[in-house]
Subunit: 425 residues, 2 copies
Amino acid sequence: MTQAPAAAPHRIVVVGAGFAGLQLVHDLRGADCAITLIDQRNHHLFQLLLYQVATTLLATSEIAWPIRRVLRDRPEVVTLLARVTGIDRAARQVALENGGRVPFDTLVLATGARHAYFGHDEWEADAPGLKTLEDATTIRRRLLLAFERAELTADPAERDANLTFAIIGGGPTGVELAGIVADLAHRVLPREFRRIDTRTARIMLIEAGPRVLPVFPQGLSDYAAAALRRRGVQVLTGRPVTAISDREVTIGDEAVPCRTVIWAAGVQASPAAEWLGAESDRAGRVIVNAQLTLPDDPRIFVLGDTAHVEMDGQPVPGLAPAAKQQGRYAAAAIRARLAGKPAPGPFRYAHQGNLATIGRNAAVIDFGRIRLTGWLAWWIWGIAHIYFLIGVRSRLVVAVSWLWSFLSRQNPARLITQKETARRG
Amino acid sequence: MTQAPAAAPHRIVVVGAGFAGLQLVHDLRGADCAITLIDQRNHHLFQLLLYQVATTLLATSEIAWPIRRVLRDRPEVVTLLARVTGIDRAARQVALENGGRVPFDTLVLATGARHAYFGHDEWEADAPGLKTLEDATTIRRRLLLAFERAELTADPAERDANLTFAIIGGGPTGVELAGIVADLAHRVLPREFRRIDTRTARIMLIEAGPRVLPVFPQGLSDYAAAALRRRGVQVLTGRPVTAISDREVTIGDEAVPCRTVIWAAGVQASPAAEWLGAESDRAGRVIVNAQLTLPDDPRIFVLGDTAHVEMDGQPVPGLAPAAKQQGRYAAAAIRARLAGKPAPGPFRYAHQGNLATIGRNAAVIDFGRIRLTGWLAWWIWGIAHIYFLIGVRSRLVVAVSWLWSFLSRQNPARLITQKETARRG
């Protein structure tokens, strides 16, 4: 807790340039410290809109920004594109894959999460999740190729299997994906195919629990399920998936021929807990105290989806606003230490509400006392998300893309890139 | 040459949705025929701007359009995403990789070209060419990763090798690539790196012949070379590349440590000649007559970069306007046959000029009598290319992207996507 000597600025190493890490670096502007920001990607990703890349509404370039460009006016921040392989807590160093070591006085880990398959890692090849740009382009490629193969084949069974889509997990991501896939099949694509009627596509949203959007109030869940059904989505609740292959998905005992499966059912934290040798919860999240640091090391912060923080006996949810608030809190705590001032009180998560879209002109918003559905919710959702994008250019580009799609009823981002490699040897 | 019976419309199969194929389909609107358009990609690519994707000025989505969307108002056109494996001339069928066969009355092959390594195919892994969107994102990834690795490494030799870029081939593509890479290193990136000065990057444009832009008049070649040198590009003419590896490029006898090599030196036609068992030239192009058909089969057209057409004893160049003119000519010839009218006269290529950019505010234009250099040429070049894009949306998006880059001096499309796989086993 001692201040660094004036000659050598305090060295802060931040791993992960997601919502938490970038917010922290942003809030440390002007503090007397040298920051090294390490990420294995060269871009910050606006994950909230990733499902729109996966479903052809937005282009990859519209929701990702080079980290260097975001921080170009911050000469005290060194950005490194590198993969972290471990943390030497005794030597106070971060180890990189290329053999390099980065020393720190304060360490901030905000390395996010990946999807989890609940002991069925073998499902990943056939049921990709949605966390990175590559995940999104993989899902987009499979969605579009399925329609292409249905148009190409002469075999009715093959055609039907290609026109069957399974989305697993009834949380916001699953609901959002199902809604846009339905819009794609029913509104965007019909005029473009000659041999198939894309409106006959079968789109299943499969949820093991009793209802979709379980974190929302029952009334909004019911609205979402009804809105999805009106769009032609089969909402299958209380039905666990028991097997997935490249030929079919098994729901309970029923095997359904299906070529496109998307996984939106669970997440697993990054390996930060292993790096630290720290205690973690079942999802692999590092258990931190109310100061967002390791209980035994106040100079190691863990933030965002990698951290398990409790407030009033409940874990803080893995949402973007929570990650940003944690980044802001940790920056304030570090500033206080650097200035020799007392630490701020414990971290308090301010829940701002839950939002989810269900497709064109339909969304649900739960602001606690205020609950909204329908087109008004959809427009509020859109405006809120444009507001959260980084930079004037991005806001303009996404706003124009959305308006264009809305008015033209066309989804612009329909490129199939990269070859689909065989999923089985 | 007989007309198809009225009951069964004349079946036209077009392979390749590039400039020639798409122009032909466009010009056959309203003709009494059933068209099947086959491409192994789902998008038409505006290849003229591919180098801007490779060099971070444009996003992939800005220069490619789903073929289906372009043709959505043409119910008589069936679009198939499929790979052609051969042509059965006796049975009049195109064979597809999935086992399907597509019968034709008239066949149009417009399958383009790939880069050629003059007997050094082993160079491809280390010196990618630029023909597809994946080529462009591969080059972009390697360019950006080289700067990242230079920032990351502690080894000066490794840093210098990563800051050395070799572009092979002094035609328009090579000149355009070298100019933007120089702008990137000298104007866009310097403020974003902390440990390296990107302005020290060594950018070599290597041409075996005596001058860059050999199809332009000497004066414009000289201007281009001088403009490149002012931007910090080493223009090495009369210097053949003799070896390429993942560690270095050898120019004559001199081995230069270099991690990023881009190939812009030669093209090879698609395998259409093999499919047809037809005579081809050295670059693999099918030799066609002045009606753009096989000499022994007036119902098989070969167009664009896949065709060797002579006019006044000179081969027609492999340029986008030439491909479009051939598509237009073939459509007129097919229309005449369907109407029982006499065939049009021989194909005449109308040369509209040569254009190339050299980076911000510099271009060369050769319209024959009118020759232009500098900022005016650059603006004319930009406006001409926006005009040639498909659709209002694309024109708007590219125009806004360019204006933004011009005013902000930022290159927006800087995502590193897909993992760089090891180039050597």
